[in-house]
Structure formats: structure tokens, C-alpha cells
Symmetry: C2
């Protein structure tokens, strides 16, 4: 039986990798990687470096797959993502079949954690559902950028006994309207927190977390937002890409408008 390993490799700092992930790297014959063009070639190189650093037990090879184009029209968001997953599944299916022997072990390396806003597990399940190739698969968790954000800001994500809400820039306004006090925002290319009518938050922002180009900014949202916008643009101009995430937290003593004091 073929085996496919979905391995979380952390968020940019090669030292975020776990012993479990290192053992999984050392079981792998073929690493499958999507080539997303220039913008992510830095990330691809970082993956190769992680393999060079931690694989001691065996020979391995990288197989690059060209990433299908994705329809980024906002109206069609969910459908476009679903179609794109299907195309990725078809592309992977072909290379798994061509490159992996009957007892071969392949791996997909995932930045951050495979359980958090990552499509790899879904694609693997889709390949299996299509029924053209069969394999067993395992998932190895990895340190996510959310955890690095909190660690570098030396903060807890939740207030005592309070929920944590992890969402996208797209859905941030709904979370604020619902009265969430601790909101982690991911996949937010437009800094949706700029446009919130209610700006009464503290922000802890981090870009390129875990890498040598890491930047951290924190303070009251209305005070920090211009600096974050400017820093974001500068970082992006320098390397062509930026990965950022942030925590919005209501300041101590904040009471939801229209609600009785606790």
C-alpha cells in the first residue's frame, strides 16, 4: 500500500519543526510540491532547505506540479475554491500514480498546520474519493502562524475563560458584530480591520512570522493602523510577497454596547 504523509512544517522558522515531522520526512521518498511561480519560490526553497537540514536517513526527490489557475472573482469564492481543489486533486493524482511505487511513501509539506485554513487534507480526501489511485494517509500537525504570532507577542490568545474566534478578513465584520472579544484574522490581504466602524480593539500584528524578515507591531488599533498599512506595503515591495496575521482583542474593561455590565 502506498502512503501519503501530510506534514506540517511550521511557519517559516525551520526550528519550528517537530521531532514527529522530522521522522516523517525521513520516511519519505518523494516530496510533491506545487509550483506557484515566482511569488512562492522563496517558500519552495525554504522547504528544500528543511529537507536538506533534517533528512539524514535516506535518498529522496522533489516532484513539482504546476498549480492550476484559480478564479479569484469574489462572487464565485466558494465555488471557485471547490473547482480549484478538484483540479489540484486531478493534477496530484497523476503524479502520485506516476512517481510512487506500490509501497512508496510520498509527502506533501504544509506551511503552518494542516488543520488551519489549508486545503491539503481536502485535496487528499478528494483524490481518494475519485477512486483512481489508492493509498493510506497520515497527518502530522505543525506550529501555525497563529501560534507564532502569540508566542512572539508573548500573549495568550484568549482572555480568562473567553472564546477565541479565528476568521478571515472577509468575515471579520460579522465576528465584530457578534461581540467577539478575541479575534484572530487570517487570509486577510486587505487588512479588513481598517474598515471596521468600531475600532475599539488592541491589535497584535505580525508579518513573515518566524522568518528573519519578521515584523511585530502592537497597540491600540486606531493608533497602530497607519503604521501597519505602511509596513505591510514596504515589506511587500521589498520581496514581492508578505504573509501576515493579527489578533484583535477588546481592551480590558470593554463592555458590549447595549448589554448590561457584567
Amino acid at each position: 500500500m502506498r502512503t501519503l504523509l501530510v506534514i506540517g512544517i511550521g511557519s517559516g522558522n525551520p526550528e519550528h519543526i517537530t521531532i514527529q515531522a522530522i521522522k516523517a520526512l525521513n520516511r519519505t521518498e518523494v516530496f510533491f510540491a506545487f509550483d506557484k511561480g515566482a511569488a512562492t519560490s522563496d517558500l519552495l526553497n525554504l522547504r528544500r532547505e528543511i529537507c536538506r537540514t533534517y533528512i539524514t536517513d535516506r535518498d529522496y526527490r522533489f516532484v513539482e506540479v504546476t498549480d492550476p489557475e484559480r478564479d479569484r472573482t469574489p462572487d464565485a469564492y466558494r465555488d471557485a475554491v471547490v473547482d480549484w481543489h478538484e483540479e489540484r486533486a486531478i493534477a496530484y493524482e497523476a503524479v502520485i500514480d506516476a512517481e510512487l511505487g506500490p509501497d512508496g511513501v510520498g509527502a506533501l509539506l504544509v506551511w503552518g498546520d494542516p488543520a488551519l485554513y489549508d486545503s491539503t487534507i481536502r485535496i487528499v480526501q478528494q483524490i481518494l474519493e475519485r477512486g483512481r489511485v489508492s493509498f493510506d494517509y497520515e497527518v502530522i500537525p505543525g506550529i501555525s502562524s497563529v501560534q507564532v504570532l502569540a508566542a512572539q507577542h508573548r500573549t495568550v490568545l484568549n482572555g480568562i475563560g473567553e472564546p477565541i474566534h479565528i476568521t478571515t478578513g472577509r468575515q471579520l465584520p460579522e465576528a465584530v458584530a457578534a461581540g467577539e472579544r478575541n479575534i484572530v484574522v487570517m487570509l486577510d490581504g486587505k487588512l479588513a480591520c481598517r474598515d471596521l466602524p468600531d475600532q475599539d480593539f488592541d491589535i497584535r500584528w505580525g508579518a513573515n512570522l518566524g522568518t528573519p524578515a519578521e515584523v511585530l507591531l502592537s497597540g491600540p488599533l486606531p493608533v497602530m493602523i497607519d503604521q501597519i498599512v505602511a509596513t505591510r506595503a514596504e515589506l511587500k515591495a521589498r520581496t514581492g510577497w508578505i504573509m501576515d496575521t493579527y489578533l484583535l482583542r477588546r481592551p480590558a474593561g470593554w463592555v458590549r454596547p447595549g448589554r448590561p455590565q457584567p
Copy 2:
């Protein structure tokens, strides 16, 4: 300057530790640990085993601190937690002062991730605010039980583009009322999902995640709940304690009552 390291060491499986955490362990002279009595002596032993396994560079010692009693009356929940943190801060302050030299490096080992429902960072900040001892501190993220839950169930925590809501058993009913679709429940000693009036969820439950005594159960909540209750009781009877967490997810195609179809 003294340094205190807050080190996430993963959720039971010693292989969940990161290279960054191993390097931090090897910088440490004194490990401070709270002794919570028989119920957690297994966990204390597991910490010692992690140190034995991964520390190669230096001598180190363990200093055990007796954990102050906590008022578990539900009415006083938040205040009780705050007082208890204060008492812990005072207890730690004394041992840091007594056990750590002027340039000493101490560490607090945290199960899971220090950013997720853990009080260690808060206690460290409280010690500094009290102003009686001074030190620098660093936080090293660790794999949390939530991530292990998702990895072992080979699932993503979020639906495509959907938020993830992490909450406590105590606040689960509010999350359900708010229409959350992907809810991770922690710190739930009573399986609050049993008492939800609306049981239309799939559950992915895990106990003692990452340990040899790990148990996973998943399926529709109404189908699985009795089996989870029974398994929970059996595991607890066997060793005197249990650590569990679960993901509730609305089934595919679920529409929030009273809302128009999307």
C-alpha cells in the same frame, strides 16, 4: 539578567516537541513545576522523561512548587481564577528568587501551547508587575491538543472560508446560539454537548491525545454521545484522570434555522 523560558512541549507525545523547544530545554538550568498531586503526577513524570530524552548539553534540576488551592465554586469563576493566578505568582516569585542566579535561565514547561487556555504567560506577567524580581522572558510555541485532535481525525478545523470558534464547555451554548459551524470545545469536564437542545452536529472527539492511551471517536453527535460518555468514564476510572477535547461541526448542507438558503 535572569531569563525565564515558557516552553510549549506538545500534548502528550514526546515527539510533538519542536527543535526550537529542544534548544530551549538545553539552555535551562532550573525547571520550575507545579505539583498538583496524584492526578497529575503522570504528567510530571512525562515532563521529566522529555527532559531526559532531549537534554544533552548541560546539567539541570527540577524545583517543584506546591500548587495553591483553587476555589472551584462556579459563581466565582473569574475572580477565583484571578486570585489563584496571584497566589501562583507569589509562589513562583519566591522560588525564582531563591533558585535562579543573576544570569540564570529557568523554564516553565507547558502542555500544549502556552497561548491556548493556559495561565503560565499571565502568571509570568503578574510576577513582573509585582516588581519584586526582574527577568526577561521568551515564549516558545507548542503543538496543542486541538491540533493533535484534528491531525488524528485527519480533518481541517474549518469549512472552506469559514470561521473556527474555540470555546469552553461553559460557553458552548452561546456559540451554538450564535450559529457557529465549527466549534472546538476545551476545558469541558462535563461534556456540555450532551445538553445542547440542538444536536445537529458531527462530533470528532479525542481523549488523552498523543499518548499511548489515546482514544478517538467520531460521527453524528446524537449517535455517538452515549459511547463518548461511557468511554470517558471508563478512561477516568482506569487512571484517575482524563484530558479530552472535541470538534463540533455542522453537517454538510446545514442551514441556520430562520435564515434564507445561501
